[in-house]
Symmetry: C2
């Protein structure tokens, strides 16, 4: 029997705790936490995430606003948008859609935020601090994925773990959170990616696999070692005539094939996704706290 | 036969090229590159490195100065020292001894340097940029170690590599330089460290091993796979009554045991060390160039 490491109950618990921290923590002259989500106009995987952000913020008592970027946006303008939000005293936390088209300079834009407001921890200074084991904000997806596995009993110290995917916003932060000194996970991490020719070899000894490839069916009995647990961070849409809209979300794991083979799989949807969103709200509460809870510092 | 991947010829070539870049590159009203090395008073492994820095700077036509920190130094004072050097127009590049005692806050101090002057690439923003595949300066030891292996024919794309050691100044930058997107090495990296219980398992598939443990004899036939190449970044002193001073420098590899078993080993001394020092001079020339070659920008 392969366990199903669900994320919904954990997510609910995190949102309830965030709500309590907000309700009981607003000082005289302060205000609730405020999160701004900046994104492009078109439909994108981020649209789905955005809807869940709005709902989770509402649950946690966080003021939420989203900004749709102009279609003719350039990299310098995007950086200006981020600079303006960084300077706005009513804003505690800013998250920018990713991935963005490369010409928009996501990394440069998000690095314009001060470290407290860079709530998803993906700017240059935030990532550098994570690497040195001294993070302020850790990317929510990394903290969420690790938290979900721990919630279901996974233990990392000394264990072999493989992370698939090396984006600076997803795969690399997960690998660092699991391996760097001072953060306590202390796993022995192998980082596989699109240029890894033999995925089965990279997975050979893994006790837990964090898969961030966005490739449906990537993980199956042919490459996953028997008894490994899979934390499925992939998110893709596949055609499904029975689903509303004609498609449904799936992860990287071929769940049917892995049933009875893997020790556990996190479901998609309902696994890493809701925990990531709830963790983003936790980080927003931290940003608010670091920035004075709405009182002029 | 185990090949000896020497670093001295490579180092000489790099210093000659740096010298040419300096001699032919000083603009009217400019000056040569200037490097400042900041260090504690006591004897330390850095003292050895410092002597080589001074000699290499001289070879490359770089103005070199070293600053000995007061014995009663505190973290805030150290940060002030770095801030002052950052503001000094006559200084292009600053390197700070590491490791320092934790209470001195190495990471915070070095992060006070602007990214161009952080010549060893170990401040928060520099490390974050490395992670995102957009570095300005890469830690010299990382670039030196990878350069030395390539110089002797090592190829990394798609290959399994194990890095031993996860310090933010040595092991992690090597792991990132080898694996992140956009820098071209594209290896599949496993990061082993002090909390890895089974080093042989972490090394099992490695084609090249980068060892940064500082533990003499750590690598031997018992854990290194036959035919692997070892880039020995470790540096320790062991007693030797026949050596001047009664001790000699050794790396992590048990070279005698690995003879005829490993494909190649970089010698200690004479391997990664001189290439690291020469690479630091290369980076100093880059800093000088980015900061206007001594002309007011």
């Amino acid at each position: 029997m392969t366990a199903r490491w669900d994320g919904r109950a954990l997510s609910e618990g995190l949102l309830t705790a965030a709500r309590q921290a907000v309700d009981s923590g607003i000082p005289e002259g302060g205000r609730p936490p405020s999160l701004v989500s900046v994104h492009t106009a078109g439909p994108s995987p981020y649209s789905f995430y955005l809807r869940h952000q709005a709902r989770a913020a509402d649950r946690a008592g966080i003021t939420f606003r989203d900004i749709t970027l102009a279609e003719d946006l350039t990299a310098p303008t995007l950086r200006e948008v981020m600079r303006a939000l960084d300077a706005e005293p009513g804003v505690d936390a800013v998250i920018l859609e990713h991935p963005l088209p490369p010409q928009l300079g996501f990394f440069s834009a998000v690095s314009a935020l001060r470290i407290e407001k860079d709530v998803d921890g993906v700017g240059a200074a935030s990532l550098g601090r994570l690497l040195a084991g001294q993070p302020v904000h850790v990317p929510a997806v990394a903290r969420g994925a690790v938290k979900l596995a721990r919630h279901h009993g996974a233990s990392f110290p000394g264990r072999p773990v493989t992370v698939i995917g090396r984006s600076e916003t997803v795969g690399l932060p997960i690998a660092l959170l699991l391996s760097v000194r001072g953060l306590g996970a202390d796993a022995t991490v192998t980082l596989a990616h699109s240029r890894t020719p033999d995925l089965a070899a990279a997975l050979c000894c893994a006790d837990v696999v964090f898969s961030c490839a966005g490739q449906p069916g990537l993980l199956n009995r042919g490459n996953v070692p028997e008894g490994a647990a899979i934390v499925d961070v992939g998110l893709s849409n596949v055609p499904d005539s029975t689903a509303p809209g004609g498609q449904r979300a799936v992860g990287d794991a071929d769940v049917a094939d892995l049933e009875g083979w893997a020790r556990a799989v996190t479901p998609v949807p309902g696994g890493v996704g809701p925990v990531t969103v709830a963790t983003l709200m936790e980080s927003t509460v931290l940003a608010w706290d670091l920035l004075g809870r709405g009182k002029a510092l």
